[in-house]
Amino acid sequence: MQPKPAEHRMQILLIEDDRETASYLVNGLRQEGYAVQHCADGRDGLFTATESFFDLLIVDRMLPHLDGLSIINLLRQKDIHTPVLILSALGTVDERVAGLQAGGDDYLIKPFAFAELLARVQALLRRNPAETRSISVVRVGDLELNLLSRRATRAGREIALTNREFKLLEFLMRRVGQVVTRTMLLESVWDLHFDPQTNLIDVHISRLRQAVDRDFDWPLLHTVRGAGYMIREPSAG
C-alpha cells in the first residue's frame, strides 16, 4: 500500500486469543513490513509488553486470564505509554468510551476489514507532532491551509470552504500520505461513532474534491480502493 520504511521496522505486539484472527493479522501486518509478535493470553501479553519495547500494541478486549482493559491499566500504571489499539467484539458506544477512557488510543469493532485496521495502525504509528501541534499553516504541494485565518489557498488562489470542509481538509492534510478511512473521518471530523449506511462520507469528499482539485493540474485528494482516502504530495504519486 505504502513504500515500507526500510530503515526502521516498526515493532507491533498483538495480544489476541483467537488463533485464526491472530495469524491473519500477523501475516497481514508482516506483509506490510511490520515486525509482529503475538501473545494468546492476557498475562503473557502484559509480561511481553513490559519486558520489551514496542511501537504499538493491538489488544483484544476479551482475553483469557487478564482482559484487555486491565492490561492497558497496568501498563499505564507502570508509565508505559505505548499507543494501544483495542480490538473488541463489544461494540456499543458505552464500551468504546470505556475502552478509550481506560487509556486505549483507538477502538476497532470486530469484524473489521484489514484495510481499516491497517489505516488505524498507520495513523497510530505515524502519529507525529504535525497532527496535534499548534501550527498555523499546513502545506501539501501547492495547497496551503492557514489555521489562524481559516483560509485555504491552492497555487495562490483562494478556495471557498465551509467550516466542516475546512476541518475535513485539515484532518487529511495533517496525515499526508496516510490512508484515512471513512469511519476515521466520521469519528474525528464529526465526532460520531456509527456505521453510515449511505455513501455519506463519499459525498462530502467529492464536494471537497470539487473545491480542491477540479480547477487544478494534478489531483491531491485520492481514493484508496477498499480503504478510504489519502492526500498525497504530487511527486509521491
Binding site: 485464526e20 467484539a89 463489544l90 458506544v93 458505552d94 469484524p111 473489521f112
Partner: protein, 461 residues
C-alpha cells in the same frame, strides 16, 4: 403524592378521619350516659332522704302533735342545718310555725310533686344562692316542707360536665394528632416506595425499596417487591451477559470469515474495479457488513433497553440536529430533497450524545429513504412546556395508523415495501434510545408522510 388537596384523598387520612368521628361519637355517648346516670342517682338519693325525713317527722307528729313537731324541727335545724336539710312548717293559711326557712319560698318551679327554688345562705357574711329541692307534705291541717340543699350535687355535676368536655376534647385532639402523624407516616412510606420505583423504572435496577425492619405489612410488601426486583435484575444481567457473549461468539467467526474473504480479494491495484464490485466475493463481503450492522444494532437496542443511560452530558438538541443536517445535506441534495432545520433557541436536555446522534441518524436515513425525489425533510427541535421535543417529518408514504405501534417493534417492516433496503431495526433502536432517556416516542401523520416525534424531559434551566 403531593401534600395539600391530595392529603385528604390518601386512604390513611380518610381512615383516620372516620376513626376520629367514630371515637368522638363513642366517647360522647359513654360520657353522656355516665353523666345522665349520675344525675339520676343523685336525685333518687335526695328523694329518699326527703322521704325518710317525712317518715320520721310524721311519726313525731302522730305521737306528740304539732308542739312535739315544732320542738323536733327546732332541734334539727340547730344540729343539722349545716348538712343541707331545709324545713318549714306552716299552718293552713301559710303562716310559718317552725323550721329553718324564714318564709315560704318565692320563685318556685314545680316538677311533678317536687318544688325547686333558690335560697340565699350566708356563708362567711356573703349571700350565696343555694339550689334546693323540696316537697310539701300535709300533716293534719298543717303543711310541712322538707327539702335538701342541691348545690353540692350541682357542683359535682358541673365538675363531671367539665371533666367530660375536657376529656372528650383532649381525646379528640390526641386521636387527631396520632392520626395525622400516622397518615403522614404512611404517606411518607408510600412516597419513598414510589420514588424508589421511579428510579428503578428509569433503569437503575440495582436500587431497592427502603425497609424499616419492623416486619409490618408495609415491610413485608417491601420485602416481596425487593425480592421481585432481585429476580428481575438477575434475569436482566443474565440476558445482558448472554447477549454480550453471543455477540462475542458471533463476531469472532465473522471476523474469520472476513479475513478469509479479504485474503481472496484482489489487491487494490487491480484493474477493472467496477466489474469486481459485482462479484460474488464482494457481495459476500457486503452481506457480512450487513450482518455486522444488524448485530451491532441489536446489541445497542438490548443495551439501551436494559441499561441505565451512561455518559450523560448536557447538550443542545438544536445544535446536534444542525450538525446532522449538515452531515446529511449533501446526500439529500443528490436527490433534490430539501433538508431543513426548524426551531430557534437552544433546547437543552441531559443525554448521551452518541446515542442521540444515532437516533437522529436513523430517523434521517429513514426519512431520506422514504422521501420522494424533490421532497422535503424537516427536523424540528423545540421546547414545549417541560419537554424537549424532537420531530422529523418526511413526505414519503408514511405508516398507516393501524400499523404505527407495530412499526416500533424489532424486525417489523411494511409488507408493501419489501424493495426498500433496511434491517427493520432502525425505529426499534430509536424507541430504545428514547426510552433510555425517559422520553416518549410517537408516530403521526404528515399527510402525506410520517412525523416521528420524540419527547424528552427537558433539562432544568
Amino acid at each position: 403524592m403531593k401534600p395539600g388537596a391530595s392529603a385528604l384523598r390518601s386512604s390513611a387520612a380518610r381512615l383516620t378521619l372516620w376513626y376520629l368521628l367514630i371515637l368522638i361519637l363513642g366517647v360522647g355517648t359513654l360520657l353522656g350516659a355516665v353523666y345522665w346516670a349520675t344525675e339520676r342517682t343523685l336525685l333518687v338519693e335526695v328523694d329518699r332522704v326527703v322521704e325518710a325525713e317525712h317518715q320520721a317527722l310524721s311519726e313525731n307528729f302522730d305521737d306528740g302533735g304539732v308542739e312535739r313537731l315544732i320542738m323536733v324541727l327546732k332541734r334539727r335545724s340547730d344540729d343539722w342545718g349545716r348538712l343541707g336539710a331545709v324545713y318549714l312548717l306552716a299552718d293552713a293559711v301559710g303562716v310559718r310555725l317552725a323550721g329553718n326557712l324564714s318564709a315560704w319560698p318565692q320563685n318556685v318551679r314545680h316538677r311533678d310533686e317536687w318544688l325547686e327554688f333558690e335560697l340565699d345562705a350566708h356563708e362567711g357574711g356573703v349571700p350565696t344562692p343555694h339550689a334546693v329541692r323540696a316537697r310539701v307534705f300535709a300533716l293534719g291541717e298543717y303543711q310541712l316542707l322538707i327539702g335538701n340543699d342541691m348545690s353540692e350535687r350541682q357542683r359535682l355535676m358541673a365538675r363531671l360536665r367539665s371533666a367530660a368536655l375536657w376529656g372528650s376534647g383532649l381525646t379528640t385532639l390526641l386521636v387527631a394528632l396520632v392520626g395525622w402523624w400516622y397518615s403522614r407516616r404512611v404517606a411518607w412510606r408510600v412516597r419513598a416506595v414510589a420514588e424508589a420505583c421511579e428510579t428503578i423504572i428509569s433503569g437503575d435496577l440495582s436500587r431497592r425499596l427502603p425497609r424499616n425492619g419492623s416486619g409490618d405489612e408495609f415491610d413485608q410488601l417491601t420485602m416481596t417487591v425487593n425480592h421481585m426486583l432481585d429476580r428481575v435484575e438477575h434475569q436482566t444481567t443474565v440476558l445482558r451477559t448472554t447477549f454480550g457473549s453471543a455477540a462475542h461468539d458471533l463476531r469472532t467467526p465473522l471476523q474469520r470469515i472476513r479475513a478469509r474473504l479479504d485474503s481472496l480479494l484482489p489487491g487494490d491495484d487491480a484493474a477493472g474495479s467496477a466489474a469486481l464490485a459485482a462479484t460474488p466475493l464482494h457481495e459476500a463481503v457486503s452481506d457480512l457488513d450487513r450482518i455486522q450492522r444488524t448485530l451491532s444494532t441489536l446489541l445497542q437496542i438490548a443495551n439501551a433497553e436494559s441499561g441505565v443511560a451512561q455518559q450523560l452530558q448536557p447538550l443542545d438538541l438544536v445544535q446536534l440536529a444542525q450538525e446532522l443536517i449538515e452531515l446529511y445535506a449533501p446526500v439529500a441534495r443528490t436527490r433534490h430533497i430539501t433538508l431543513e432545520a426548524a426551531g430557534g433557541a437552544a433546547v437543552e436536555i441531559t443525554g448521551n450524545r452518541q446515542l442521540l446522534a444515532q437516533l437522529l441518524v436513523n430517523l434521517l436515513e429513514n426519512a431520506l429513504k422514504y422521501s420522494p425525489d424533490g421532497g422535503r425533510v424537516v427536523l424540528r427541535a423545540t421546547r414545549q412546556g417541560g419537554h424537549a421535543v424532537l420531530e422529523v417529518s418526511d413526505q414519503g408514504r408514511g405508516i398507516p395508523a393501524a400499523l404505527r405501534d407495530a412499526a416500533l417493534l424489532p424486525f417489523r417492516r411494511l409488507e408493501s415495501e419489501p424493495q426498500v433496503p433496511g434491517s427493520g431495526l432502525g425505529l426499534s433502536l430509536v424507541a430504545a434510545v428514547v426510552r433510555l432517556h425517559g422520553g416518549r416516542l410517537q408516530l403521526h401523520d404528515n399527510a402525506p408522510g410520517l412525523i416521528v416525534r420524540c419527547e424528552f424531559p427537558a433539562a432544568a434551566s
